[in-house]
Point group: C2
Chain length 278, copies 2
């Protein structure tokens, strides 16, 4: 026991060349840096030179060199031989694709969403929650797409979306509140519900009704009705929602017409949902 020599190992010399590490001996820092590089390639940095990568990822030139080289060899980046700029390859789609195909939740939910899509001819989404956000994992577009920028993998704050509220409404209120408390709550539109107490009321109402609505709380013109599917322990697993345009429905019409459909779909999905382990 004790620790005699090993802290000598991770304490650098006193001349402080480096801040001390959290000392997580299992953490492989190279991997973290590699992902920092890969994740630098966002929509605003689609194509980057070596030095851009270095500055965006916060690495020095040597590290940028090594990690871009490594990622290129692994097939995740390609370098244009003339401009020397790097960009992502289709390889990046593979992980997401694997996730989608491997996820039993999605496999199970897909047929019900497709059915909804066919019968309503509106946009149908399946989302899961990741802490304070929801993530779109499956999407069936209608002919008149509202927001083409929303694709699989898109994230939004849970509190101002119908699926987010639907999932929060299936949790214990104190847990839901804790999530809201660590969210950056703001009014994206004039209609955004963004105060904790009001949100808790909205959550309670949604719990009672069995579905949630979000009318232009994040995007203008977007009317969304959602219901959450739950595991056998009554924990929210995912949510299905229908999104329609204000141009074609009033809020009341949309709610009246679609709420029972999403509730039914969510209930179907719930039954026989794979367990998060037993």
């Amino acid at each position: 026991m004790t620790a005699h020599k090993d802290d000598a190992r991770r304490n650098k010399q006193a001349d402080g060349s480096r801040a001390e590490r959290p000392a997580d001996p299992l953490m492989v820092l190279s991997v973290e840096k590699a992902f920092r590089v890969l994740e630098s390639f966002d929509p605003t940095h689609a194509s980057m030179s070596l030095s851009q990568v270095a500055s965006v990822a916060g690495l020095d030139k040597s590290a940028a060199q090594r990690f871009t080289h490594t990622l290129e060899k692994l097939g995740y980046l390609r370098k244009d031989p003339v401009s020397k700029h790097f960009e992502m390859t289709t390889r990046a789609l593979k992980l997401g694709h694997n996730f989608t195909r491997a996820n039993p939740l999605i496999e199970r939910a897909a047929p019900y969403l497709m059915h909804l899509s066919k019968t309503t001819e509106e946009t149908i989404n399946l989302t899961v929650r990741d802490d304070t956000e929801i993530v779109f994992v499956l999407r069936f577009l209608s002919r008149q797409v509202l927001n083409p920028d929303v694709t699989i993998g898109t994230r939004m704050p849970a509190y101002c979306t119908a699926p987010g509220i639907a999932m929060l409404s299936r949790m214990r209120p104190e847990d839901a509140r804790r999530i809201l408390e660590r969210t950056d709550l703001r009014a994206y539109t004039p209609d955004t519900t963004w105060q904790i107490d009001t949100l808790m009321e909205k959550i309670a109402l949604s719990a009672a009704r069995g579905y949630a609505t979000a009318f232009e709380e994040f995007y203008h013109g977007d009317l969304s009705i959602a219901a959450a599917a739950v595991t056998s322990r009554q924990e929210p697993a995912c949510a299905v929602n229908i999104a329609v345009s204000r141009a074609r429905y009033t809020r009341q019409d949309a709610e009246k017409r679609f709420s029972s459909l999403v509730v039914a779909a969510a209930r179907s999905i719930s039954q026989g949902l794979p367990q998060p382990h037993g």
Copy 2:
């Protein structure tokens, strides 16, 4: 089993003190292993224990421990606290999502595909080529989906798909042939064109027509018509295709009705296509 690659790649210091095979000094092997772990989580291995990860990824227990720990800390894996099994998180979608959003090709093509989707009400795809394969990068489903298993990120052999042939037909024939030569050519269905010479004829015909067809060459019942978009250097950049079911169209009808549409869409996409650098 045991070690296979390290000796081949790296000469210990058998004789001369100088390593004659410097291997690849810029390659960071930890990163490669991390991706081996992540990519182990495919549809047949959605949820794995530590030792399963070790065996599937080909690592020893310690390495599996370190990399699962690292990936968990980075948010790509989560471990069920009771079953101790690992699975992927929605984080995996982020890279693919970034790729989609960052790719100017996709941004540019999306509106044309959407237009096609609306006017035809059939399934529309955008694909790019990655060596011998095509990869689906954007997809608009019709009401009657043929193959729900095909999602963004799905790959197919180029030679037996309409988009693949369409792109090959815009290359120099000798380059196209070289790609075919390194493909594992096989007859997936009785209708698969799989002999090099026949394929080259098919490619030549497609080049002359400006579009390609694949009738049940990979999936039964799947009739597909595609055209390639080209860069200003006349290099194929991507392909757009329409896929319909044999149940609702004859081959002739499908070809007659849709070929001009995909050709027009591909031409529109081609104009002002971002350069692979200038």
